[in-house]
Every structure is written in structure tokens, then in C-alpha cells.
């Protein structure tokens, strides 16, 4: 497919979008800022275009991400405190160059998938990073709210607040966040007994988004295989491209919906089968369910519980008051 045939989103359109999101960011009250509503950003990763930059040592997107995040992690404590009682230490500071999996120093890698399409062998390249989910459990149940979904859709870990307990990794269906021990606020509290570093992952280059710039990986892609724009436009674009290539979309419904839409000419089930699901190398199982959905019903009951208490309290008190009034009336009659 020639790139000319592909519906695109211009840089000008993206910049207009960013400005709009920035203008809207002053309004923050819940209800009008639900993820998935107009104003959110989304990204598109077109697997029919990504060639994995096989002519380079490291794919351009990965290289750009590494460059821009070279100094993200502060110097690591030496020696790194060994936590008690489970003595897990995760130190990637001496393996910063690793680029073929997710690490605290590498937020994007490209998976090579050897698949079959129409009986013919085919190689696809799948850039993998945080999906920036619409309702990300990693952020909503972070005990210190060090991880948050911002109004533009980016899910960002604040490394100054994170204790590195890795809860976000446990609840992420793709186990995306990666821990670096020996850095972060926990060193100043009780490093032996609480916390174990800081969790790192792609933040969609949120700082750049705020400045109206595109994420570094998208800027760097020589094939324009990745795009960012208004969510509804990206969604429409992904659907259009999938229709044109008789292909498939990943990320629209997975984990309750995400801000990352992959478009592929090959079913994702087949791509998923080529993935080993090792630490730092997530799978791509279609239809991954949002675990937190199982708690929504009882959570809604929590939101209703104040009304239940107020209604029961009022009913009880009025019953008591009515009883007292009738007793007083009876007493008055007797006295009379």
C-alpha cells in the first residue's frame, strides 16, 4: 500500500488539537473530563507501515525515546538498599543500553513477529509501550497517586512521588511499568521496610505534549507509522485504515479501551502467538478485560451509601419524633 493512499493527520491539525486540550485543561471537575470524550488525544500505530528500521542498529523510535529520556532517572544509590524481608532488588543502571524489551531505561521496543498472511510468510514489526488506557488501574489504585491519567490521555508516573511498590505493574494487563531500585523518595523514608525504587514507563512525552510538540517516537518515525491526534479523529482514521487493508484494530476495547490503536493486516491473535510474554516483553492478547470492572458495581453502591444512611437516619428520627408526639398527646389527654 502506498503511503499516499493512507488517510493522514497533518502536523498542523495535531498542533491545533494540542492547543485546544491545553485551553480546556483549566477545567478539571469530574463529569466533563471523562476519558474518551472529545479533547482526549490518542495515538495510532500502523503495523502495515512499520518496517522495524531494519537498516539501523536500533529502531528510530526507540533511539529517540532513549535519547530524550537519557537523564530521566537520577543517579542510583550505591549500594542499593536491600529491602526486607523479600530481598528483591531490580537494578538496570548497568544495562541501560538494552533496547529489545521494556526496562526502567527503555520505554519502547519493537517486537519482530513472523506470521503468515494468506498462506505466505510475513514479518511484522510491533512497537510496544504503555497503551495509556482510558481507565488505567495502574493509576487509579496507586496508593500514593504517583501515577495519574491526565486530561490529554497520557498516563504519567511522577517519579518524585513513586515508592516503587510495583502495584501498577501487577494490575497492568501487560505489566508495562518497570522498576529501578535505589532511586526515589523511599530512600528518604524507610528504605528497608517500605518502597523499593521508582516505576518507569512511557509517559507519551507529556512534557512535549504540553508544549504542543509530538512525542519523540512519533516525530522520529521515518515511515510515519505512528500518529497522534484528537481521539475521535485517530479512532476514525484507524477504522478507515483497517477497513482499507481489511485488517484489525488492537487497543480500542482492550482493558476497557486505550489511547493507543494498533492497525494490522494480520489478526492480533496471530501476532500474540509470536510473543513470548517474558518480563518486559508483554503479549498482545485480543479482548483483554479490565480487571477493575469487577469492582465497579460495588463501587457504585459505595457512592450511593451516603444517601442510604441519610434516608435511614431521617426515617428513624421521624418515626421516633412521631412516637414521642403521640406519647405527649396521650399524656396531655390523661392529664386533662
Amino acid at each position: 500500500m502506498k503511503s499516499n493512499d493512507i488517510p493522514t493527520l497533518s502536523r498542523r491539525s495535531f498542533l491545533k488539537t494540542s492547543a485546544g486540550v491545553l485551553a480546556a485543561s483549566g477545567l478539571a471537575w469530574p463529569g466533563n473530563v471523562q476519558a474518551g470524550e472529545p479533547g482526549r488525544l490518542a495515538t495510532l500505530i500502523d503495523l502495515s507501515l512499520c518496517d522495524g528500521c531494519t537498516d539501523r542498529e536500533v529502531p528510530a523510535c526507540v533511539s529517540a525515546c532513549k535519547t530524550i529520556n537519557r537523564d530521566t532517572i537520577p543517579p542510583v544509590a550505591d549500594p542499593i538498599p536491600v529491602p526486607w524481608p523479600r530481598k528483591t532488588v531490580e537494578d538496570w543502571s548497568r544495562k541501560r543500553e538494552v533496547s529489545d524489551r521494556l526496562t526502567p531505561y527503555n520505554y519502547l521496543y519493537v517486537h519482530r513477529a513472523e506470521v503468515e498472511q494468506d498462506g505466505e510468510p510475513k514479518i511484522l514489526f510491533v512497537p510496544r509501550r504503555c497503551m495509556h488506557c482510558d481507565n488505567p488501574a495502574c493509576a487509579t489504585i496507586c496508593p500514593f497517586s504517583a501515577n495519574h491519567k491526565h486530561e490529554n490521555g497520557a498516563v504519567v508516573i511522577d517519579q518524585d512521588l513513586c515508592f516503587g511498590g510495583a502495584k501498577c505493574k501487577t494490575v497492568c494487563p501487560w505489566e508495562i511499568p518497570q522498576r529501578q531500585s535505589g532511586v526515589g523518595i523511599y530512600l528518604h523514608v524507610m528504605p528497608d521496610y517500605m518502597g523499593n525504587g521508582v516505576m518507569y514507563k512511557c509517559d507519551l512525552c507529556n512534557d512535549r505534549l504540553v508544549r504542543g510538540e509530538q512525542p519523540a517516537c512519533i516525530d522520529a518515525c521515518p515511515k510515519k507509522a505512528m500518529l497522534i491526534g484528537l481521539r475521535r479523529e485517530i479512532t476514525a482514521l484507524a477504522e478507515e485504515r483497517a477497513r482499507q487493508m481489511n485488517g484489525h484494530i488492537y487497543g480500542k476495547d482492550e482493558n476497557g479501551g486505550t489511547s493507543t490503536l494498533y492497525v494490522s493486516p494480520v489478526p492480533f491473535e496471530r501476532i500474540n502467538r509470536t510473543m513470548k510474554k517474558e518480563p518486559g516483553r508483554p503479549g498482545m492478547k485480543p479482548g483483554v478485560e479490565r480487571q477493575m470492572a469487577a469492582t465497579d458495581a460495588v463501587g457504585k453502591a459505595v457512592l450511593a451509601s451516603p444517601l442510604l444512611g441519610i434516608a435511614a437516619g431521617a426515617a428513624g428520627a421521624f418515626k421516633w419524633l412521631a412516637g414521642r408526639k403521640s406519647r405527649l398527646t396521650e399524656g396531655g389527654k390523661k392529664d386533662g
Binding site: A28, P30, G31, V33, T140, G165, K167, V171, G309, I310
Partner: protein, 279 residues
């Protein structure tokens, strides 16, 4: 006021069934919330709690969130029931009164053998102060918890400032709640307070205890009963003179110098009625 002297049984009704249900609903759901809230921290796996047979679920954040939510339905509903029910009834027995701070210090001193306790109303002055503290802590937990729940379900991308406030109010509220709970347990361990344990378990305390330690309360009940036209109680029970109570335990009542209840200085029935309405 529903408090009542049951002379034939030697008891005073201190808490209605509704109040007992409120207390235990808050207490038990509160403990479930503390436990499930702690398991919302990534500690069960690190500290091998989830390796203990039967506690494997403690490392599952979704399970502990479900437990946390379920317990908070009881906790929040009971707390708001309490506020509305007693607010509308005009119950004011636990609202601090003037001089409670000063008197509380005297009472605490008396626990350590310095000086004597003053005569009490239904509640000790430090109980009234502790009540306000607990109200503030529970309000912090409920408001911030509701914001966090709303965020989890409907608005993961709500203002980060609001989320951080809710999170830290909730976390600090948790620490204060645990400290308040420990203080509550410590208070009931103190010997002079122990007879009140029976009150929160059965709804009634011994008349001997109440007569000696809470004479102002007994006077209020008697005043209220007199105002209703109920016959005065026979002077068979004992009570110490206000100001000279030594807060004896139940079994020590007989050792105290006893005076007929009528000899106590007691406000007029009209005054008692007003007091009763406010307790």
C-alpha cells in the same frame, strides 16, 4: 433520651439497640477497612502475608478493593445514619461542653492516682472530645474515599490536584483512625472505665457503677422520668455524693460510703427535662 434505670435488675440502660448497631457497624466495618486498606498497599507479597495459608487473597488488589468497597458501604451508611438520626433527635450528649479540656486533664491525672475524678454526666469529658476527633477523622476518610471511588469508576482523569488531596487526606486519615482506635482500646483497658464495656456490649451498665461515677446522668434520667409523671424510684440504690466519687469498679461499690439517692443535690424536674432532651 431513651436511657432508663432498671432498679430491679440493678442496671441502667445506656445505649439503645439502634446505638449499639451504629457502634458495631462502624467498628467492624472500620476494622475491615483498615485491613483491606493495608492490603491496598503492596505489602502482602513483600511481607509474605499472602504466603500464609488462607491469606493468598491478600496480595490480590482487586479482591481487597472489593472488600474495601463492601465494608465502606456499611461504614459510610452507618456514619451518615448516625449524623442524621441523632441530629434530628437533638441528641447532644457527646457534644463537648465548656471546660471539657480542663476536666479531661483532671480525669486523666486521676487515672494515675493524682486527685479525684469529678462526677460525670453520661459521657466522660474526654469521651466527648474523642467523639469530635473521631467525627473529624471519619469525615476525612469518607469524603476522600468517595472522591477516590468516583475517580476509579467515572473519572480517572479528574484534576490531579483533587486526586492528590483526596489520596493524602485518605492516607493521613487512615493513620489517625488507627491511632484513635488504639487509644479507644487503651481507654477501655483502664480499670475505672471497664464497667462501660458492658454498656457497649449489652446496652446497659451496672446501676452501682453509674450511681457512683455518673451521678449527673442518673439525676438527668430521674428528672426525665419525674417529668413524665413516672413514680420516683425507691431509695434502695446507692450513690456517692457528687465530687466525692472514686470511680470504684462494680464489685467495689459496697465499700464506698453510701448515701440514699434522694440526698443528692438534684436540679428541678423542669431543668432535668431540658437536660434530658439534650443528652
Amino acid at each position: 433520651m431513651d436511657d432508663k434505670i432498671l432498679r430491679e435488675k440493678g442496671r441502667v440502660v445506656r445505649h439503645s439497640i439502634v446505638e449499639l448497631l451504629e457502634h458495631w457497624a462502624i467498628a467492624l466495618s472500620g476494622l475491615a477497612l483498615v485491613l483491606s486498606g493495608m492490603f491496598e498497599m503492596p505489602m502482602a507479597n513483600r511481607y509474605y502475608i499472602s504466603s500464609v495459608p488462607g491469606l493468598a487473597w491478600s496480595a490480590d488488589f482487586i479482591v481487597s478493593l472489593k472488600v474495601h468497597y463492601a465494608a465502606s458501604i456499611v461504614f459510610v451508611a452507618a456514619a451518615l445514619f448516625h449524623a442524621v438520626y441523632h441530629g434530628l433527635r437533638g441528641d447532644r450528649g457527646m457534644i463537648p461542653r465548656k471546660g471539657d479540656i480542663r476536666t479531661s486533664i483532671e480525669v486523666v491525672k486521676s487515672f494515675f492516682g493524682k486527685g479525684k475524678e469529678p462526677p460525670f454526666h453520661k459521657y466522660l469529658p474526654e469521651q466527648r472530645l474523642a467523639y469530635v476527633g473521631m467525627v473529624v477523622i471519619i469525615a476525612m476518610l469518607i469524603v476522600s474515599g468517595l472522591v477516590k471511588t468516583w475517580k476509579n469508576i467515572y473519572a480517572p482523569d479528574m484534576s490531579y490536584t483533587v486526586v492528590l488531596w483526596a489520596t493524602w487526606v485518605h492516607n493521613i486519615g487512615f493513620v489517625l483512625f488507627v491511632l484513635a482506635f488504639l487509644a479507644h482500646m487503651a481507654a477501655i483497658v483502664l480499670k475505672p472505665n471497664r464497667p462501660m464495656l458492658r454498656g457497649i456490649l449489652t446496652g446497659a451498665v451496672s446501676l452501682d457503677y453509674a450511681g457512683h461515677r455518673h451521678p449527673l446522668w442518673i439525676a438527668e434520667i430521674e428528672g426525665a422520668q419525674a417529668a413524665k409523671g413516672e413514680p420516683p424510684a425507691p431509695p434502695t440504690e446507692v450513690a456517692s455524693v457528687p465530687g466525692e466519687a472514686e470511680a470504684p469498679p462494680d464489685d467495689a461499690a459496697g465499700e464506698t460510703e453510701a448515701l440514699p439517692i434522694e440526698t443528692r443535690e438534684s436540679p428541678s424536674p423542669a431543668g432535668n427535662d431540658a437536660a434530658a432532651q439534650k443528652s
